[in-house]
Symmetry: C2
Amino acid sequence: MVGRLLISADSHVMEPPDLWTAGLSPHLRAQGPRLEHRDGVACLMVEDTVVRRFPALPGPAGERGILHGASDPAGRLGDLDKDGVWAEVIYPNLAFFCCYHIRSVELQVETAHVYNDWVARQFIDASQRLAPVAVLPVNDVAAAVGELWRAAKRGFRGAMLPAHVDHRPYNDPAYEPLWGAAADLHLPLTFHAGTGRTQTPAHGPGGAVINYVVTLGGPMETVAYLCASGVLERHPGLRVVMVECGSGWLAWVLHAMDDAYREHHMFVRPKLPLLPSEYFRRQGAVTFQRDPVGLATLPFTGDRCLMWGSDYPHPEGTWPHSQEVLARQLDGLPEETIERIVSRNAAELYRFRLPAEAA
Amino acid sequence: MVGRLLISADSHVMEPPDLWTAGLSPHLRAQGPRLEHRDGVACLMVEDTVVRRFPALPGPAGERGILHGASDPAGRLGDLDKDGVWAEVIYPNLAFFCCYHIRSVELQVETAHVYNDWVARQFIDASQRLAPVAVLPVNDVAAAVGELWRAAKRGFRGAMLPAHVDHRPYNDPAYEPLWGAAADLHLPLTFHAGTGRTQTPAHGPGGAVINYVVTLGGPMETVAYLCASGVLERHPGLRVVMVECGSGWLAWVLHAMDDAYREHHMFVRPKLPLLPSEYFRRQGAVTFQRDPVGLATLPFTGDRCLMWGSDYPHPEGTWPHSQEVLARQLDGLPEETIERIVSRNAAELYRFRLPAEAA
């Protein structure tokens, strides 16, 4: 046992299957997120695309291995108590897969709006221990800024963008108002592995393993975009988090960015006052579940940019053994480093108040 | 000083600018690799595409900072002696950038053929200390197998494939004859970072740093394809090398592959007798110039899959300070590990004979 209360910086909900077919404006429902059954498989559709196939109908307790706390806050808090987890940063499940596949600006804005309203009602209103992040409709930057302001007023303590953007990379000046608004509002922007239109490129033999590596590694590129383009330099109040990507690649990416900055200086634009890695150490973080490589490379990353996440209620998550899984991983690290990784970094970033005394 | 002779597992040549315009069959020359001057910039063209812009005309001593040994074997051996380097595995420069952009099968086959003939004449015939790798025309697998056989007869001790393939990923059964032939011929197949059609995606602010991270990280995906799809399981004699990609990401990729294999076992096909990481430790290697993260994570990777490379004669390489650069990096490691990284792994893989006594 770690012997202190934990904060999971990466957990998920399960939305009601009819959230958008009931909640969107009538003229958008036929193209909005919906489950269609084909040959006994529930397909998550958006616009004309199947974005995900579920072996069993998702629902409060319908997806294989899904726990009741997925959509019920009381059940969730009970599950957290069993696991020694004080608080959670919460990501979507259906919205996670479909929202960033949407091409229509209007549909994406309303899809995000409907999800954010539901998750706020269901979880923000239930307990300050539950901090869902708002989904931002990034196809239109002005709309994303508007939703960020709405989210801040509604009590959200973070907001998410896709880890991968095909058409407008994160060094595009068009995003400036969004970076500025997030800094002003003190809302961290998070990039969850697996979000975005282009994902899971591999098919055939080895596909599951290949796609896992590619998906988890996706945020490496995002780190480079944010650090090297000057986004973090121009917005020192902006905090960014790469989620469920593991932490074992971070030391190498920090080193590689600095190596490029120094060795290819003749090609480097803009020149920045700090090295790329210094911006990430100052303003960035990553979350992991189990990552011995990330812990072994703490001397390179420091302990202020690592946060643990349980991935509750997903079957590959650490519930209900989070305390033991963490104790095994963190054995031998300094107490202050353990505290930072299991709770303090997340508490500071997402403004959680832990009870004064650990469990 | 490391105090022993080194083998660079990653060096380069510079081809004569007219290699293909003079050497290809007449009907292919207009579409083959060629330098065209546009507004004072030398553009490397192939088919109808500019694949690279050079700020100064490349040539034996024309590219900024290029050394004379780039195309002259006697000058090269002299430069190696100055640097305390006994032997080199040698990659192309112009062919490196252009060969895997070619769409035509016929043109790619002849382009590879012309390069391989030139580099063999120039370097294989000069000294056993110089081991160029053959370029394989991968658009047509049967042609690649034919060129591999021809390369083996001509004295090549390795052959290269693109690190990234767009249209036929490395888990495609079409490659089976190539894997089998490389194993039979005891020729390592190498995947140099930056080769392939889809590269350097970033433009604008931070582009140089972003593209460096993306390019160096490219071979991660290739490692996953080769380990998880069963290629290395089916061909235990096949050896594969990821080149100039650094080594700091390897520990994480090995961990992530095994994590996926275990945690997503319900989706994993094929099931394999060993874990994905075990195949790479048995049959794979990576090369690095300077990579403190890779050296810190040796407990995860072992010392049999790391090889140093100087990148000679590129200006960002370690020449003429390779001994000092390595001594600083390797300080404190066991002698046997140092020997493996600076020479023994490469000597075994590429069949170099070092002089009995170190310098």
